[in-house]
Structure formats: C-alpha cells, structure tokens
Symmetry: C2
Subunit: 444 residues, 2 copies
Amino acid sequence: MRDDITILRFEVIDLRFPTSDTLDGSDAMHPDPDYSAAYVRIVTDHPTLEGRGFTFTIGRGTDLCVAAIKLLEPLVAGRTLRALRRDMREFWRTLTSDSQLRWVGPEKGVVHLATAAVVNGIWDILAKEAGLPLWKYLCSLSPEEIVAAIDFRYITDALTEAEALEMLHAQSAEKLARMRAIEGRGYPAYTTSCGWLGYSDDKIRALCRESIADGFNHFKVKVGADLDDDVRRLRIVREEIGPSRKLMIDANQRWDVEQAISWTRALASFDLWWIEEPTSPDDVLGHAAIARAVAPIGVATGEQCQNRVIFKQLLQAKAIEFCQIDACRLGGVNEVLAVLLLARKFGVRVCPHAGGVGLCELVNHLVHFEYCCVTGSEEGRVCEFVDHLHEHFEAPCIVRGGRYQSPTMPGYSSDIKDASLRAFSYPNGSAWQARKANREGVHV
Amino acid sequence: MRDDITILRFEVIDLRFPTSDTLDGSDAMHPDPDYSAAYVRIVTDHPTLEGRGFTFTIGRGTDLCVAAIKLLEPLVAGRTLRALRRDMREFWRTLTSDSQLRWVGPEKGVVHLATAAVVNGIWDILAKEAGLPLWKYLCSLSPEEIVAAIDFRYITDALTEAEALEMLHAQSAEKLARMRAIEGRGYPAYTTSCGWLGYSDDKIRALCRESIADGFNHFKVKVGADLDDDVRRLRIVREEIGPSRKLMIDANQRWDVEQAISWTRALASFDLWWIEEPTSPDDVLGHAAIARAVAPIGVATGEQCQNRVIFKQLLQAKAIEFCQIDACRLGGVNEVLAVLLLARKFGVRVCPHAGGVGLCELVNHLVHFEYCCVTGSEEGRVCEFVDHLHEHFEAPCIVRGGRYQSPTMPGYSSDIKDASLRAFSYPNGSAWQARKANREGVHV
C-alpha cells in the first residue's frame, strides 16, 4: 500500500457538444447553447488514480475557463492527498485568494468557475481513493471534518463555525439509517423537458404524458418571452398534470423587478409552486421585493448566483423559498457545503439546478449528502433532471420512477469517457472536424 | 471629409508593469500586485484614427481578460462609428448579452472587465473623432443621447429612463458655465500615498507633509492587518494633518461584518470620514449593517463592485455614503453613466476609485462630466489620486494644488506610448526580458 499520493499536473480539455444544432436547452436568454465543460484531469504519481473535475459552460467562454484552470495549476501541483485531506479550507482559500487572480473575480465569473472544476476534481480523487461515491465519502467525514472544509469568511454574520458544527452533530445519530433509506428509494427529481419555449401543443401534451408515466410529479415551464404563449403552454401542462402535481415556471432572468411581479401574477391562476430566476441573479433586494409581491408563489434562484455571499444575502433578505445551488457555479464542493448549511439554518429548501452536461451527475451526490447529514427530509425538495448527454459519462446518473438513484461508483461521477473526450474536444475533436467538413460540404 | 469610419479589428496587448518588485500599491489582500492592463487597440479603416481602451488588472489573470477581449472582437468588427453613435445602448447590450459568453459572467468578472476595455476604447474613438476630450464629448451630448447609451435593464425599479432624462434636463442650463468653471479650477483629489501598510513613522510624517504642501486635504490610510499598527499610523497622520482635514481608512475587504463594525469603532476616535471596503464587495446587506453601526462614519465601496445591479442595491439599502465607481470594473462609460445617475437620485456622493495604471487618467473625465451634467457640486466629493505609472501615457492626468486638472487632449486619455507598449508587453516585452535575464544572472 502506498504511503501517499502526490498531484503532478493538470491536463485541461475544452469540451463542447454541438447542442445548438438541435436547440436543445435553449431559453429566453440563451437561445443557442453548445453545452460544454472546461474539464480537468488531475494527474498524480499513482499509476491509475486520477481526479476529474469540470465546470459547465455553454460554448464561447469555455476557453477562458480552461485558461483559468491552467492558472490554478501551480497552486495545486505538488500537494499530497494527505495534506489536502488535512486542510481543505486552506486549500480552497488558496485558490480563491490568489493575490493577483482575485482581482479579476473575486470569487465570481470565470475564475470561480475554474475553481469549481479544480475543487470538484480534488473531491473526486479523494472519494476515489477512499473507494466511495462522493456522497458516501462526505457522509464518512465527521462534522468537524465537514466544517473544516468550509471557508466561513464573509458569512459569519449569518452562520458561525460553531453553529454549523452543532447543526451537523444534531443530525449524526440518524445518518446511517438515512443512508440505508435513500439507497433504497433515491431522491425526488423534477423535469424541465415538457416546458421549453417554442414547443407545439401536441409535443407538450405528449411530453407531459411521458413524464407522468415516468413517475414525475413536478413540472417546469420556461416563460417570459410572450405572455400569451406562456398562458397557452401553462394551460396545456396544467390540464395534463392535473391539480395535484406541482407546476413551476422559469424566466431565466428575463424581467426587471416590476415586470417580474406583474407577469408572475398574470400566471398565478395556474397554481404555481415557484417562479425561477425572475430577474438578475445579482439582485438580492429585487428577489426579495418579488418574493413579497408574488407570495404564496415561492421565488427560486441560484444557478447563476456567484458565491456563498450572494446566497447568504438571499437567505437573510427572505428573497428565496427554494435555493438552487449549482455544483459548478459555486466554487466546488467546499462552497456548496457552506450554502447547504446556510439554507438549513434559514429553513429554506435546496432544490439544485442541473441539466447541461454533467450537472445531474454531480448534484445527485450533493442531495444525497444533504439528506443524510443536513436535513433528513425530502419534504418539498426536488432535484432538477434533464435527460441530456448522460451517455458520455462512465457513471451516468440514473433516474427511475421520478427519482434519482443513488450513485455507487467511487468518485464524483465526473469521469467522461475517453472516446467522448477525444471526439468533442474543441475545436480539433473528431466530432467538430466532421461537423466542419459537413458544413463546408453543404456550402460548396 | 470622410463619410464614415469602419472598425476593422482589435489588436490586444497583455501589458504588465513589474510593480511587485517594489511593492508599490500593496494592501492587505493584494500583497504583490503587478499593475497591468488588458489593452486593446481598435483599428479602423481611417489612416490615423484608432480607439484605445483597457481594463486594469494586477498581474495573473490579465491574459484571461486579453482572451475575453478577443472573443468580443467579432461583435464589434464591421461596425461604423455612425452606427455606434446612433445606438450605444444596443451596442453595449450586444457585448454583455452574448448568448454563450454571458454564462461565464453574466456582467461580472473577466468578461465584464473585457467589456469595459472595449467600451472604453469605443468612447475614446468617438471623442477623438469629435476632436474633444471625452468629458467634453459627453457634455456635448443631449440628455436624450446620454440616456440612449444606458442599459436600464435590472435597474428600472430604482431609476427609470424618464427620471434619468428629467435629472439631466434639470442640469442642462448650467452646463456651459460649469464647464468653464471646472476648466479653471479642476476637481478635488485625495491621496492614498501616505497610508500604505508597513511604512515607518518617519516615512508617514514625511509623506503627510509633502501631501499637505501639494495641496491635499483628504488622506487615506490602509487598515485591517493589525489594530495596534492601525492606531499608530492613524495617530501619526491625524497629528500631521490636524483636525480639519479629512481622514479615511481602507480595509480592502479584510473583515467579516461584525469585525468590520468593532474594528472601525475602535478607530473612530481619529475622526474618520469614511471606512472603505470593510467587507466583501458582494455583500450589500453586510455593508448596510456596517453603515448603520458605524455612523456617522460613512461607508465607501465600489472598486470591486461588479455592475450597476450591485450599486443599485447598495443605494437602495442605504449601505454606502460614498460611491466609488471604477472606470474598468463597471462595463465602461455606458454603465458608469447609469451608476452616476443612480447615485444622484439617491443623493449619494461619487468618489471614484483610481490608481493602478491608467485609472486616474480615466476617472478624471468621469468626474468632470458628472460635475458639469449631473451634480454641479464638488461638495464633499473627492477623486482618488495615486502617483504611479502616469509617465507611460500620452496625456497623463495632472494633479496640481490637490486638484485634477481638466483633460484637454481628444479622447479618453487612454493612449499609452508605443515605447511602453513594446517594453511592458508580457512576457516578451523588453522590460520583462531584461528582468528575466537579470534574475537568471543573479541566480547563477
């Protein structure tokens, strides 16, 4: 048995899938996404053990994240896994506090997305070394070890280290029983697949029926481009799903505050559970004003909320009823842990953002951990599921009967198949070269 | 005379000055800055007219901004100056709303800093074409034209287009008289040069006396590393400047909220005018809590506040008494205009951040415009001045008698000398090559 393992270097890949060709996943603000990942292989001196991490992007700009990950490499290379395990907080802070790089953040945008990729890759390798899927690895840590991974800087006015520790200790006794329970039944998922803009009546009805047959009880519809069209699609969906299933809407930041209020009110008769991303992800006070005005419809946001400081304020201001963490927008697992505990303290439900490429794989671990160690409840909680691009993963998430099944393979489910890495690396992968040749052929 | 001018392409330069060698400008969070600029030359089909824009950075990460500027090039190349003048709002929104790039922002961090460089370069060329320094070019625009450059998305709950127009119209009658007045006397500056961490007593006293002799009446001291040392330096500065001159402190985001309150109170006996950057630039509610607790000391922040949405909230929450816009952190002139008008509406004084490389050159235009067209007052307003790296500019700012003198050369004062561009381009410029050779020599 080896004494310790040392990180040698990064191999970083600009990975893009040409999803804009089919317009899967387009919304009011992002009409032509190429689902992408800035993907990092963390190479060690061990013959087989390698960390894999990524941040999700949608095309242009992936190269910026790739370059930022490379800038973080010198802060990671040479570290041993033992030293990392011993001080995950210091490690995280080293990445987010680089004295020069922080100027172009700090803790937001490109550099923070890059931090997420690296941090996720480190947790992947630690879990793999332990032979556990990430959620079980997190469950294997003591409350003290969890708290020691969190940077409490800028959040102590809302959550102290002592409070976090107390919350985790209070849940410890139930942990093992919950792990057994969730492995049996999984965690509730919801689907966005029926509700994209631009679908015909027939397509919406067919997708709703399919999703109901698949066991889903929560349905999300994209809104905000045209009120009449929103009414049309919501009427169809509500007819199909009946009065008892939950219906949510998602505006993808389309509105200003006043418009968000009036538009949401205009749709309220469809018995909406939440309005997601009604306005700018930076607008804490705006979300709070909307929340007051549209209650009892809850406000949900998070997929573009840049860090724990924004989530802290959303919670302090009672601006959200649903906390939509993103596994890559936040600075990886360490910062997700901070937000899970903040949400728990404020009594707000976490319903992670997923979709894109790989986000479903990641958040499945996070909700499993949260259930076992933080909340012990799935009451009113659902985790987003979009059925895209899972085929590229070595351990794709499995959703059955409307529920995420528990991950079993060691690591953070972030291993993308070698063939996919080769085909979709941008711009020289075989899929992109073939597409280019094809287009040039068409234009001749 | 030419009919119109078309933008052809960008030439982007990674420009870094090795200021970490001397530790000029180091603070509690940024101990070793290499003052830098992602610098763009906007090349046109005109034989001599070229736009120059930049964003300020401090070393690592400049390359990310350079790459982001290049990603914006296709959104700008091919546009004519006439078309730009006709719809500056649409132009700005095109840059900030790119459907794929916005994912790695939106409107924050690397991509927003890059937007600033490009947008500043466009205003530079428009002012040059008009034969006016930028501030006079802005003054030459009608209230309607100013408002037409502003993207009101996400701020209409605080400031509508109609309100902005009314505010500008109300100032119009005084504009010409103010332009004449400010050209005679300039605009008040303050100095940070006496107050860096780590200076000896004698050095502090000498610098204070120098600054008083130079006509300064406002003095800023860096704090937050060590309370005893802060007391020592503040006592010296207050002794030197006497009871009537203003004394400010700057914590560079060092504290959590509670600590900011207790530390500031511990220094309050030195009669402080403002506490700058007490905590995370993202923490609107935190700044508001600090403001309530430390009054009558005012809270100041802004140099790392990412966009108009954050400033809007700082104003709505009464979190700041001094609004420290940054000419490059905000998305260039268009977004600065939005924040100037927001601040005016909320009755908050704008005291721009400057220093680094080139920021003094830029903000001088902004305070000149603000005085002439927005406020008509310099009461309680000061613009930061740091005496660094001005020698590299074709039209360096001039501060005399503690006041910024009015820029006279056409454009936005963003032209850096060709020799400096060559010497300090990173990593192959002659200054960097010489430094490398020198270091290698030392190590042999």
